[in-house]
Amino acid sequence: MQVISAHEFIQGVVSGLLLGGTYAVLAVGFSLMLGVTHVVNLSHPAFALVGAYITYWLLKLSGFNPIASLLVVIPILFILGVIMERTVIRETARRTKDLTSASLVLTFGIAIILENLLLYICKADPRLVTTSYTGKSLFVGDIALPMTQLMSFGVAAVTVGAIYFFLQHTFLGKAARSVWQDREGAILSGINVSQIMALTFGISLASAGVGGMCMSLMYAIEPATHYSWITVVFAVVILGGVGSMLGTAIAGLILGLVIGISSVMMPLTWINLVLFSIIILLLLMKPTGLFQR
């Protein structure tokens, strides 16, 4: 821990908030899936990593702009999500009453498979997505706004906004929310729950892919990276509470703020510990999350 100047503090706050947007998009799908389908998807960050690797290889092999690569990442992960629901999740749900507990182990298995597939295909080397604007910054006064952070914040804000709009203002979104609130009631109202489940998985993993792309703009990725992302996702979901898009967004920003400030005060490796302490403290104070209704 070291004493920091006011300038460093403000810099920490600004880049923390920008980072927080990415945290929010990384966690929003996890929260949505847990709410609607009662599946705790421990492979969520691993799917985000798949998105990050697709971004990396598209850039490396054919010079795709990371933002443009979303056109590839989103459909692939959406389809993966639908396939996952239609095969393993459906099969498991048929056999067990307690899908939440079963899904923990199930999705952990999927995370291990994904991690080691990535390890097998891409090797363990850390990869960095380096674009033409990596390392460049906009300056407001003497506060630096790194381009990569601005870009990922923008993408994250649009994605979270789009999911929010989808849930609030479209028929399918409203249907998903009704399943979330009362599954039996939704079935009785003629909502096709199985369709909503598949759709939720698709959207959730697609948003994970976007989150992965945003993270890859700022940090080096390797196949084991998803373990550090998982802590971020948990922290955001526990802070925001399952069941609130707005809560998730705000929780992402708060968490980014905490990380931003603590990263100018201590080495980066301690961040996981900070996150863990936050999670423990939160659970002690309010196990259902700060924004739970």
Binding site: S101, G109, F234, F276, L283
Partner: protein, 310 residues
């Protein structure tokens, strides 16, 4: 495993035979492989005392294992105390960590508990890597026992077999006691159990501490066996995962399940890496697939298959 006598009739000769195995002077490789098997069986059986009976999936077992490993290694390197004695201290420290953690964590249920234990495992590793006296990211070297390699392996083989036996006896005792009954009632329905007068919190904390204590002891001996420890493989998340997988594969309701699960997985692992020569990645992919298949098709583990037929 309803009948105590039957179980002991099978268990006694098996353990006795295994204990006498070194007299046949087998290859060192087999002693090492069996050591690994006993270690995982003891870990899984210890995990099951809390994670299996109560249904609270602890995904951070490697934290307790690692605390034990680091405690005994540190005491050996710094003060020259043999891990065979200090293993108890390793176990106690792991139990203390469990006691501290249990206070906030055991109020949580289902997914939240899993998330927190998972994060715990990751966090402890970060702490150890960043602390000076644990050798940080360079790890710690432990001196070898001053005996031939064969005698060395025999000593560790017998020690780990002993630990496994103790773990099994503790698990058997718990299964037959009122304590175990309470734990399993928590698994079935915690709220109903509490209304029937089961002090769920107290039982959970006790089981969690026992489970962590056993893991700490196993870790202490493992550190001495490896002679070199590093946070990357001592606090490896795959240890936590393997232990859970072994219990689920075998079946969580009795001590037999984790032991059988450990036997199968260690055997598969030895087979895959030593004979077929495929990489660690592929064998972990197979582990992942097993995890998925077990959950999808064998919710009660392998033991469940036999129970159904009987």
């Amino acid at each position: 495993m309803g009948n105590k006598k039957h179980t002991l009739f099978i268990l006694g000769p098996v353990i006795g035979g295994l204990a006498l195995l070194p007299a046949l002077r087998p290859d060192v490789y087999y002693l090492s492989a069996l050591f690994t098997l006993f270690m995982y069986a003891a870990l899984a059986c210890g995990w099951n005392i809390f994670g299996g009976y109560t249904g609270y999936m602890n995904f951070g077992h490697a934290a307790f294992f690692g605390i034990g490993a680091y405690t005994s290694a540190f005491l050996l390197v710094r003060y020259g105390l043999s891990p065979f004695y200090t293993a108890i201290i390793g176990g106690i420290l792991a139990a203390i960590l469990a006691a501290i953690i249990s206070w906030p964590c055991l109020r949580l249920r289902g997914p939240y508990f899993v998330l927190v234990t998972l994060c715990l495992g990751l966090a402890v590793r970060v702490v150890v890597i960043n602390l000076e006296f644990t050798g940080s990211s360079q790890g710690l070297w432990l001196r070898l026992l001053p005996v031939s390699i064969f005698v060395n392996r025999v000593i560790f083989y017998e020690t780990m077999l002993g630990i496994l036996l103790v773990t099994i006896l503790i698990a058997m005792w718990i299964e037959r006691s009122k304590f175990g009954l309470g734990l399993r009632s928590i698994r079935q329905d915690e709220d109903s159990a509490e209304t029937q007068g089961v002090n769920a919190t107290q039982l959970k904390i006790a089981a969690f501490i026992i489970s962590a204590f056993l893991a700490g002891i196993v870790g202490s001996i493992y550190a001495y066996y490896r002679t070199y420890i590093h946070p990357d493989f001592i606090f490896d998340i795959s240890i936590s995962v393997l232990v859970v997988l072994m219990s689920l594969l075998g079946g969580c309701n009795t001590w037999v399940g984790p032991v059988i699960g450990a036997g199968i997985l260690v055997f598969i692992n030895e087979f895959l890496t030593a004979y077929t020569g495929i990489g660690a990645e592929i064998s972990r992919i197979i582990y992942g697939l097993l995890l998925v298949v077990v959950i999808m098709y064998l919710p009660n583990g392998l033991i469940g298959l036999f129970k159904k037929r009987a």
